[in-house]
């Protein structure tokens, strides 16, 4: 369970600096797939960095499963848009890294790495070099690496933002599959409205800076996909289209570029 209690964030860390987030409170239960959506530059990535513990809040508190966040920690795995893989390690070496840092014996961490690489459909790619992989494959290595650390929460910062449209759709489906298989709580930042509507169990729309919660929706399209409904069938249903258009209208109304 993730709880944000009256969070404020301002760059520079002092009063008088422009606020990025203001009086933001939010709570999602364990196992949720929370999607943060908002106009560009609204502070959604900052919010994710707060939960990851990379930034301290100016005011308020954040707790994950009852523990107050005071810095980065192994209970929260992070997947970055630029994948942040280490090119001096091969695919398996990257996935093993969190286990190596914890001092897990070699045989055990090789088993764990293979397990998660299989989960993200990268079986047989273990010995490839990172730079030999496509963008989608690199993101999957990033997801496997984050999962190998066995976090309670998976934080994803625009993980599919740099991928082409088709790869992106496939990655969304893969993510839902991984989510269903592992039962992890996921927080995902995106600026893709359709992506948000499809994946989220909780969709939070942030306003312009200083960001507050503009809208909050509970959705079940992702769950239905995880239960076996085909993705295209879901995405072409009137119910999904209506949600997507409504969220899109809200985002457009908030986008500073259009005012």
């Amino acid at each position: 369970m993730i709880e944000l209690d009256r969070i404020a964030l301002g760059y520079g860390g002092q009063d008088g600096h422009p606020l990025v987030l203001q009086q933001l409170s939010l709570s999602v239960e364990a196992g949720a797939l929370l999607v943060l959506l908002g106009p560009s530059g609204c502070g959604k990535s900052s919010l994710l960095n707060l939960i990851a513990g990379f930034l301290p809040p100016l005011a308020g508190s954040i707790s994950v499963n009852g523990r107050v966040v005071k810095g980065p920690g192994a209970d929260r795995g992070v997947v970055f848009q630029d994948d942040a893989l280490l090119p001096w390690l091969d695919v398996q070496g990257n996935v093993e890294l969190p286990l190596r840092l914890k001092g897990v014996p070699a045989a055990e961490r090789a088993d764990t790495a293979r397990h998660f690489l299989q989960l993200v459909d990268l079986r047989g790619q273990e010995r490839k070099q990172v730079w030999e992989l496509s963008g989608g494959m690199r993101q999957r290595v990033g997801i496997a690496r984050a999962l190998a650390a066995d976090p309670q929460v998976l934080l994803m910062d625009e993980p599919f933002g740099a991928l082409d449209a088709l790869t992106r759709e496939r990655m969304q489906e893969l993510l839902l599959k991984v989510w269903a298989a592992t039962g992890k709580t996921i927080v995902l930042v995106t600026h893709g409205v359709e992506e948000a509507a499809f994946l989220a169990t909780h969709l939070v729309l942030l306003s312009r800076r200083p960001a507050r919660i503009a809208e909050q929706l509970r959705l079940d399209f992702g769950r239905r996909f995880a239960a076996g409904e085909p993705a295209r069938a879901i995405k072409s249903q009137p119910g999904f289209v209506a949600v997507r258009e409504r969220v899109l209208a809200s985002v457009l109304a908030l986008d500073p570029a259009l005012h």
């Binding site: 990851a52 513990g53 990379f54 810095g71 980065p72 920690g73 192994a74 929260r76 795995g77 992070v78 970055f80 630029d82 942040a84 893989l85 280490l86 090119p87 001096w88 890294l97 969190p98 190596r100 840092l101 914890k102 070099q129 990172v130 730079w131 690496r145 984050a146 650390a149 976090p151």
Partner: protein, 282 residues
């Protein structure tokens, strides 16, 4: 979906695909190997021509054949009580010892300066102060302090290598990708683990580049270092030969110095390819 009619697309006429240019078909004048061989060949030819026709006296420029003959003479009999290989060996030993000394101090200091603004503030002015000063300018001071033994020579070369390695290492550390550090932190990495698993490998391409630059500077400081009471070394050999107006040995010495520098550079490039194959790819 009934209002969608497929566009009629005319069958395109078969167009022969243009043949991909292969290496073989590259015009001769744009192949780098050919160009390099050409420029070296023309130089050698001109050298042979002007010396064979007697346009330049051997005292000023000996013919290539004389230099070539000198190579074998020096390899066998030697010059100033040491063979060419002993001179080259003495120089190489000094430079490699200096490289070892410089790398083992400059890399840790560079890491520290890259990580800590305090260390950067303390040491950056010192490094920047002595770096632009030519080694010949502070050589007398080193001799006054440390005498004319091997230590002064090695130290002079080491100082020349030190600065580029410190600067390159600090730049490499500071250029470490932010998200890679964050990723490791989110796996619970300690400060030491961050350094060992993320920062040091990230900075390795810059460190190796710094060593390449440093080795080049160090090698060119060699002649200056061997000016001082050396009895062996390529710099000493060239200096002594100049005093006896043995121009052929001077020219030969220059070629050997250049050749060894080229060999060291190729060696470090090979090391780079082996240690940082990801460079420029990820």
């Amino acid at each position: 979906m009934d209002n969608i009619t497929p566009l009629e697309i005319a069958e395109p006429a078969a167009v022969p695909a243009p043949a991909a240019p292969t290496r073989r078909q590259l015009p001769l004048h744009s192949r780098p190997g050919v160009l390099s061989a050409l420029s070296i060949g023309v130089l050698l030819l001109a050298w042979s021509a002007v010396t064979a026709r007697g346009w330049i006296a051997p005292l000023f420029l000996p013919p290539p054949s004389a230099v070539w003959a000198k190579l074998w003479q020096l390899a066998g009999e030697g010059f100033m009580e040491a063979t060419l290989w002993q001179h080259a060996g003495a120089s190489l030993a000094r430079v490699l010892l200096a490289l070892l000394l410089a790398a083992s101090t400059a890399i840790p200091l560079g890491l520290w300066m890259g990580l800590s603004p305090v260390a950067r503030g303390l040491f950056d002015p010192l490094v920047e102060f002595y770096r632009p000063v030519p080694p010949l300018a502070y050589l007398p001071l080193i001799v006054i302090w440390l005498g004319i033994g091997e230590l002064s020579k090695v130290l002079l070369i080491a100082l020349a290598i030190f600065a580029p390695v410190v600067i390159a290492t600090a730049i490499g550390v500071r250029g470490t990708d932010h998200n890679r550090i964050r990723a490791a932190q989110s796996f619970g990495a300690t400060r030491w683990q961050l350094l060992r698993h993320v920062i040091l490998p990230s900075a390795l391409p810059e460190i190796l580049a710094g060593l390449r630059v440093g080795l080049g500077v160090g090698w060119s400081t060699l002649v200056a270092a061997e000016l001082v009471a050396a009895t062996r070394g390529l710099g000493f050999m060239v200096q002594s030969a100049a005093q006896f107006l043995n121009t052929d040995i001077v020219v030969l010495g220059i070629f050997v110095i250049a050749g060894i520098a080229f060999g060291l550079e190729l060696g470090l490039r090979a090391l780079e390819r082996r240690l940082v194959p990801w460079q420029g790819k990820a």
